[in-house]
Symmetry: D2
Subunit: 239 residues, 4 copies
């Protein structure tokens, strides 16, 4: 069965910053979409901030099973109403993958009630991602750990409260640790947060990073999707 | 150490409906506040919808450790900005107790990302509340179960997704079950949902119901409260 | 990929009790195995208490992905060493489905540290199984609830402590509720407990019950299996 | 109300190894007990492996609210029957604190079904313990992190599966991370695991380490204790 994936990217760093443009000339969304499109059971689209409705009309959202989200410098430019429409569909069964700096997005707060506060440092530090759940469908191919030679440092305490499935914990050479891959269930939908992906590093060309995103798309696909979930008046008792 | 409790009530049913007024002449908030005030370590205030700022100015919220919330017919009249101010303080460490129909409040969605959908029936059915966690500080005094002779029926599936501490499950004579007492952690704060409390029954005069609310206040009191949690730039590595 | 399923049954009631024999002339294990064998991607075997090694030699266990277990009157006759061998393989990635009275089996305690205490009553009461997680791969086909006209009553408090994925809660006409379908993760393996299945009722001929078991087998299949997990001496640091 | 604490130690390293004896001349149990005894609401006893019944007769266990456990080189010398007696009392409501190498104790497996596998290295590396739950009663006094200049390195993947409350994650200078403070609920009791405490370092003289143990004792104290929990026959329905 086809899984419909929409890869959303703010797509501003890649236009404004020559160093970023060099790594991702077509934008990070295209790098991710291009990899995912190799899976014949995925139907992959992209959308970006500056398109009308950010490329995320209700029609697009209705036909999306898993929405991937990268945002950073323009969190506040994202339309509140579109965030609400996404939230509504997650409660119905759609899933969302929040990448890297999306921890501070409106979508993070809409879905979790938490603001994703953390400490951070741009210092090109080494990151080791430890696989604490090696029998999980998302991390099964990762071995015990893998290394990113340079990433932005993110550190605990991470303002997310209890998470439902913790998959990876990262070590940074400057002394920080971070819960870097995890799932929270949001009513009928799922939220997968995955920390790597600073715009100045070629993280979305790393085969392990891409494989985790691919595995996550499969794991997060909705089994069912219930439209317009609301309170239901049951006039008659069951017995 | 004093725990500062604010009991908020929509306080409309008690004014408009003679049957409700008879049970709670001063409002449900006064019934709850009056019971809690017997605890010498609690400092108890009340607030209602029709007061200016719903009685919930920033100053009141800043001096509240545990906010108790009853709302039903006027969820939509609650000011969005006040909901955001409450959410902000929960992320900092304040706790909230949502009673009964507050499952559909703006506050429920602000804090959990879920809309609390359920099925319901006003049929005066018997409810048996089963204590599934008898060694928990909130339910330790309840024995294996207690009975409410009449309550509004609430039924699963309950749109709340994974919860962090499940304390009670209710049986209704019409054939429904419901997760009726539970906790979700919201960043530094806690949300306790407790289902009994339809306005047409004297539920908030029941000693067991009141004792659970009292125990919850103690369990939910913040250990610390961190103001203005946000992303923190750590210029220097730890090592 | 083939999933290797071994259905284990105590197989005593069906030999000793005429009423049970009438329902399951070949034993409950055969009823379950016969249904599961219709799935072409399952390789299904059976094993019973009175076979040598209870039919569960190390070779059989090594070639089992999901072990289904029904036991009741002879929990104490199960060989301690075989329980340990099963526990070892669950830690490595094998999964177990405990049916009905297996809540009190040696295997339950070996895997969870809990003794599965509950209250019970053989009264032919009606059971309504509520689906509290309708978007889960195990319960996606169940609608909001299904009914068993007669089952043994099991009641909370259920001695299992926190569970990792709660899927169904049951209502019994005598006033009890019970967490009737749930998962606990045990190191690399998973334990799925499913409550229906008293020997005197034709529960394992019910299509919904059988479908849940089928769905559970697919969900519980190991992604990987790590042999001989133990402490590992890492002489050299990673960095 | 008095909390009855029993500090158990294998007490072999301190007798056999001069370097260890120098740090803990009376044994690690005495260092911990001496600190805890300053709390006037604690009644503290000690027990060791080589005492009759390891100092843990049924009478001692019956009068213990929280049992603290340090073991390493002699896990296999611990009497199986005593482990079972401890497990029985945890199911009834007693709590256990497992320190450091107790991750591989018989008690760990008895209580969790997991074997606590991990990777390790004795290299005197620096450890930074990050407080990921700063509003928890156990870690409220810790700030964002604290440092141990030298500890034995423990690394993920840690064979414990899902844990109920994750409090701290540690960073080690050699590149490892480890879930170093957490709680699992075991029926009516609680298990708190805390990783620091290798015998060759003065860890149990560190004020932060000792404070966490003190806070944990308070948090883990039983609210109630139910003797002889077992299946209960309810002859009569509730309704």
């Amino acid at each position: 069965m086809t899984i419909r994936v929409t890869v959303w990217n703010e797509f501003l760093h890649e236009k404004k910053d020559e160093a970023v443009k060099k790594i991702y000339p077509d934008g990070m969304h295209k790098a991710i979409a291009s990899y995912l499109s190799k899976s014949k059971d995925f139907y992959v689209k992209t959308a970006t901030l500056e398109e009308p409705s950010h490329g995320l009309t209700n029609e697009v959202l209705d036909q999306t099973d898993v929405l991937i989200w990268w945002g950073h410098m323009a969190h506040n430019q994202v339309d509140d109403q579109i965030v609400l429409e996404i939230g509504k569909r997650v409660r119905e069964g759609m899933s969302v993958i929040l990448l890297h700096s999306a921890h501070a997005s409106k979508l993070m707060k809409e879905l979790t009630g938490c603001n994703g506060s953390l400490s951070w440092r741009e210092a090109g530090e080494k990151e080791i991602l430890w696989n604490i759940n090696p029998n999980h469908p998302i991390t099964k191919d990762m071995g015990d750990y893998f290394i990113l030679e340079q990433e932005e440092t993110y550190g605990e305490p991470f303002g997310v409260s209890d998470i439902d499935e913790l998959l990876m914990i990262s070590w940074f050479s400057g002394g920080n640790v971070f819960r870097s891959a995890w799932i929270k269930n949001i009513q009928n939908g799922k939220l997968f947060y995955f920390q790597p992906g600073h715009e100045t590093y070629p993280t979305f060309k790393n085969e392990k990073v891409l494989k985790i995103i691919e595995n996550a798309v499969r794991y997060l696909k909705p089994e069912i999707r219930k439209n317009n979930i609301e309170n239901i008046w049951q006039k008659e008792p069951i017995v």
